[in-house]
Amino acid sequence: MALSRDQIAMRVAQEFKDGDYVNLGIGIPTLAANFVPEGIEVMLQSENGLLGMGRYPTEDEVDADMINAGKETVTAINGASIFDSAESFAMIRGGHVDFTVLGAFEVDVNGNIASWMIPGKLVKGMGGAMDLVAGAKNIIVTMTHADKHGNSKLLPACKLPLTGVNCITRIITDLAVLEVKDGAFHLQERAPGVSVEEIKEKTAGKLVVPDNVSEMSV
């Protein structure tokens, strides 16, 4: 069965290594912070200028001057640091953030990603997404494998305006974990109970399937 949002987040969190600095996008990526495995510590970077983002505040702790990149009220952990936005993106663009997790509309077999603009709809902007995909060492894209009409989001070539080129190497969807390399999606894991056939059917771009595809443990 397709994974729930929480299950996708859980699978994402299994990618983290102890000591990773991680930037989590809005939506499913943010949920990953709730599922960091036992014995692993990660530190969250928020691109408005906070390293060591903590939990949401209690009513007493709410402070208009302390927000995250999603403009939500937050707290900071002991040992956090706060800096300006140029410094924050120096960290991101300089490759100091170990992991970025973000959503997308489409990813293609060349690791191109489209995530910010649908022509004809009002364009609100890319925020920090273009910087993140161009800068982070490892990027994981989380999204549903297909849209609500059943159209694949894993394409031979992105159709929407791009956020970045040749930058995505790993995708975690509600159906599968895939690596992107050599012009193809390489299936690595499938969601429990999801068949390789369903994944094939919902992957429009070239898919390489190994002999054995293990089930994710979520």
Binding site: T58, D84, F89, M126, A134
Partner: protein, 235 residues
């Protein structure tokens, strides 16, 4: 050191010299760390044809959003806009131009502008609509685009404390774009919560040295919260 006392006592004095068609660089991220009183002063002055460089454009009726009400803004240079209905309306009616710029590129363009660096290369935006028409250069085999820097006729900044010489510190994440904005204005005006005497701020921990600052005014702030989210046990 009277020559270095930058405190002004009225908003009119703080924004003196602002005129139509100027470029204003504004600090702030969403509604966090915005110079509320300076924005309201611009509204009351009725200056029009403005180009405003700011990560966002406030919300309906608050922050930079108030400058939309009388169509004072001709162009926004931002990374994320449209949190307000009026913005969307003016954009769709072609009454407002928007130059969308990646957040990190925007921050770096302001810093570069203030630092006398007219342009820099970045991987951000290469191969996307942002990179269209821009110079491309390869370094170590990877393509980068040339981004020109930004300066403004005015910079409007919100700080926590400033001394009379203009040395500023910011509070928590209200820092955001403010320090870069402060460097990039021909005239930089800082609205602060508290003015202190020189020597009261630790020289090693000044966020914006006074050399960048032309005028300081003490403001009062509503500090509206855009998205109040509480810890689970509090919901």
């Amino acid at each position: 050191m009277s020559g270095f006392d930058k405190v002004v006592t009225s908003y009119a004095e703080a924004m003196k010299g602002l005129s139509d068609n100027m470029t204003i660089i504004a600090g702030g991220f969403g509604l966090c760390g915005i110079p509320e009183g300076l924005i309201n002063q611009i509204k009351s002055m009725g200056t029009t044809g403005l180009t405003v460089v700011s990560n966002n454009c406030g919300v309906d009726g608050f922050g930079l959003g108030v400058l939309l009400e009388d169509k004072q803004i001709r162009k926004m240079i931002s990374s994320y806009v449209g949190e307000n209905a009026l913005f969307e309306k003016q954009l769709l009616a072609n009454e407002l131009e928007v130059e969308l710029t990646p957040q990190g590129t925007l921050a770096e363009k302001m810093r570069a502008g203030g630092a006398g660096i007219p342009g820099f290369y970045t991987a951000t935006g290469y191969g996307t609509p942002v990179g269209e028409g821009k110079d491309v250069k390869h370094f170590d085999g990877r393509p980068y685009i040339l981004e020109p820097s930004i300066t403004g006729d005015f910079a409007i900044v919100k700080a926590y404390k400033a001394d009379r010489f203009g040395n500023c510190i910011y509070r928590h994440t209200a820092r955001n774009f403010n320090p870069m904005a402060a460097t990039a204005g021909k005239i930089t005006v800082v609205e602060v919560e508290e003015i202190v005497e020189p020597g009261e701020l630790d020289p090693a921990h000044i966020h914006t040295p006074g050399i960048y600052v032309d005028r300081i005014i003490k403001g009062t702030f509503e500090k509206r919260i855009e998205r109040k989210v509480l810890a689970k046990e509090e919901r």
